[in-house]
C-alpha cells in the first residue's frame, strides 16, 4: 500500500484483495438494518450511511451520520449497524461519526420516500436549508389519505425529532410529516 492510497479511498478499495466483496456484503447487511423508530425504512434508505470503504489498516470503515444531534435513536442505530457488520462476515470494521456535510432529508432515497408514504408518514419534498422555510406554513403539505392540500400544522414537532404533526381540513384526519432539514 503506497502513501497515495492513504489519501485516496477509491484506490485503497481497489488495492486490497477481496475488499470489493467485503464492501458489497457490508452494504447488503446494512440494507437490512431498520430505523428503530420508523422500522419500515432501512438506515441505507434513510441516507445516514455515508460511505463504506476499505482502509489501509485492513478495517472496513462505515461513515454514519446522526439525523438530529440529540436524537436518542442515534446510539441505537450505531449499535445495530455494528451488530449487522459483525454478523456479515466483512472482517474487521469500525463505525465513524460523520457530521459534515450535515445529514439532510434530501438524502432519503426514492425507495425510502415511497415506504414512508406507505407507512402514513408524508415524506419531505424539499430541504429546509431554504431560508423561505424559516417561517411556518410556507408550503402546503398534501394529506396522505385524501391528497387535499387543505391541511394545517398542529405542531412543528412530533413524537420523534424528525416529524411534525399535521391535520387534514378536508377529511379531518391527523397525520405525520417528515420534517425537512
Amino acid at each position: 500500500m503506497n502513501a497515495l492510497a492513504l489519501s485516496d479511498r477509491a484506490a485503497g478499495d481497489a488495492d486490497a484483495p477481496g475488499a470489493a466483496a467485503r464492501i458489497a456484503r457490508a452494504w447488503a447487511a446494512l440494507r437490512d438494518v431498520e430505523d428503530p423508530e420508523i422500522p419500515t425504512v432501512s438506515v441505507v434508505e434513510l441516507g445516514v450511511i455515508r460511505f463504506v470503504t476499505a482502509q489501509p489498516d485492513g478495517h472496513l470503515e462505515v461513515g454514519l451520520s446522526p439525523t438530529y444531534t440529540g436524537c436518542p435513536a442515534t446510539e441505537v442505530i450505531r449499535a445495530l449497524v455494528e451488530g449487522a457488520l459483525a454478523g456479515a462476515n466483512v472482517g474487521a470494521s469500525r463505525v465513524v461519526r460523520v457530521l459534515a456535510p450535515a445529514w439532510s432529508t434530501d438524502w432519503i432515497t426514492p425507495e425510502g420516500r415511497r415506504k414512508l408514504a406507505e407507512y402514513g408518514i408524508v415524506p419531505p419534498d424539499h430541504s429546509s436549508s431554504s431560508l423561505r422555510d424559516l417561517r411556518p406554513g410556507s408550503r402546503p403539505v398534501a394529506c396522505p389519505r385524501c391528497h387535499s392540500t387543505h391541511t394545517e400544522t398542529v405542531s412543528e414537532f412530533g413524537s420523534t425529532p424528525c416529524k411534525a404533526l399535521l391535520r387534514c381540513r378536508e377529511c379531518l384526519e391527523p397525520f405525520e410529516y417528515f420534517k425537512c432539514i
Binding site: 444531534t69 459534515a100 411556518p136 414537532f157 413524537s159 404533526l165
Partner: protein
C-alpha cells in the same frame, strides 16, 4: 513523556493537538454551556406546557440543544486534554466554572417569557453557527453545519409563537411585551467581545461579534415588527456569565441537574 502527553496519547490525539489551547477551550465551552443550560431550562417544561403540542415542541428543542452541547463539550474536553469528557464537564463543574451568557439561565416564567428568551437566543445561535460553518477550525465547522439546520427550525417555532403572542390578545401581548422588556438588557452580553472572542476572530475560528450583532439586529427587528412589538431601549449592562459570574438562578438549576452525579458519583443508566 510528560503526564499531559501520556494523557493525550491515550486519547489518540496527534502530537499537533497536544499544545494546550486555552482560548479555543474556553470558546467552545461557552457555546456548549449556552446550549446545555438553555436545553436544561426547556426541559423543565416537560409535562407543564400549556398544550401537548408545545410540550412536544419545547422538549424537542431541548433535545437538539442537549445534542449540540454533547458535541461541543466533548470537543472542549478533547482540546483541554485532561481526560474530562462531556459528562464530567456537564455534571461535575461548579457554578463559577460555567460560561454561558446569563440570558440562558433566566427562569422560564410563563410560556411567553420562555418564547421571548428562546427567540433572542435562537437568532443569536443561528447567526453564530452560520458563520462557524466556515470556521478555520474544522471540528467546529462540522458541528456548526449540523447545528445550524436544527437552529433554523427552532427559530421557525419560537419566531412563529412570538408573532402569534405579540399580535394576539391583550393578555398575550402584555405578557410578551413585559418579558421582552425585562430580558432585553441581558442580550448585550451576547455581543460583548472579550479577549477570547478577539483571539478567535483573529485566528479565523470565530466571527467578530459586532458582525453577529448586526445580523441579529436585522432578524430580531423584522420579527418584532411582524409581532407588532416595540424594540426595547438598550440599557447599560454589567453581566459576565461568559466569564463565570452568574445570576442567582444558575446555582439552583445546577443543583437539580447535577444531583444524581453528585450523590452517586459515576452512576450510569
Amino acid at each position: 513523556m510528560s503526564a499531559a502527553n501520556a494523557m493525550s496519547a491515550a486519547n489518540g490525539m496527534s502530537p499537533a493537538t497536544r499544545v494546550r489551547d486555552d482560548d479555543l477551550f474556553q470558546y467552545v465551552l461557552r457555546m456548549g454551556d449556552l446550549s446545555l443550560v438553555l436545553g436544561q431550562r426547556l426541559g423543565e417544561w416537560v409535562g407543564h406546557s400549556p398544550a401537548l403540542e408545545e410540550d412536544l415542541g419545547l422538549a424537542n428543542i431541548a433535545l437538539d440543544l442537549i445534542g449540540q452541547a454533547r458535541l461541543l463539550l466533548g470537543y472542549a474536553g478533547e482540546i483541554e486534554g485532561r481526560g474530562r469528557d462531556e459528562d464530567k464537564l456537564a455534571f461535575l463543574r461548579e457554578q463559577g466554572e460555567y460560561f454561558n451568557p446569563i440570558l440562558a439561565e433566566q427562569p422560564n416564567g410563563d410560556f411567553g417569557r420562555t418564547i421571548v428568551r428562546q427567540v433572542l437566543i435562537d437568532a443569536f445561535q443561528l447567526e453564530l453557527y452560520e458563520w462557524l460553518t466556515a470556521s478555520s477550525d474544522g471540528q467546529l465547522a462540522e458541528i456548526a453545519a449540523k447545528a445550524v439546520k436544527e437552529t433554523r427550525y427552532h427559530l421557525r417555532y419560537s419566531g412563529g409563537w412570538l408573532v402569534r403572542l405579540g399580535d394576539g390578545t391583550v393578555e398575550s401581548r402584555a405578557r410578551v411585551s413585559s418579558a421582552l422588556e425585562s430580558l432585553w438588557s441581558y442580550t448585550a452580553e451576547l455581543f460583548a467581545e472579550d479577549a477570547v472572542d478577539r483571539a478567535m476572530a483573529e485566528r479565523g475560528i470565530g466571527p467578530r461579534l459586532a458582525d453577529v450583532q448586526k445580523a441579529w439586529n436585522a432578524r430580531i427587528d423584522a420579527l418584532l415588527a411582524e409581532a407588532t412589538l416595540d424594540r426595547p431601549l438598550d440599557r447599560p449592562y454589567s453581566w459576565f456569565g461568559k466569564q463565570g459570574a452568574h445570576s442567582e438562578h444558575l446555582g439552583y438549576m445546577l443543583a437539580e441537574m447535577q444531583y444524581m452525579q453528585r450523590t452517586y458519583p459515576g452512576a450510569r443508566w
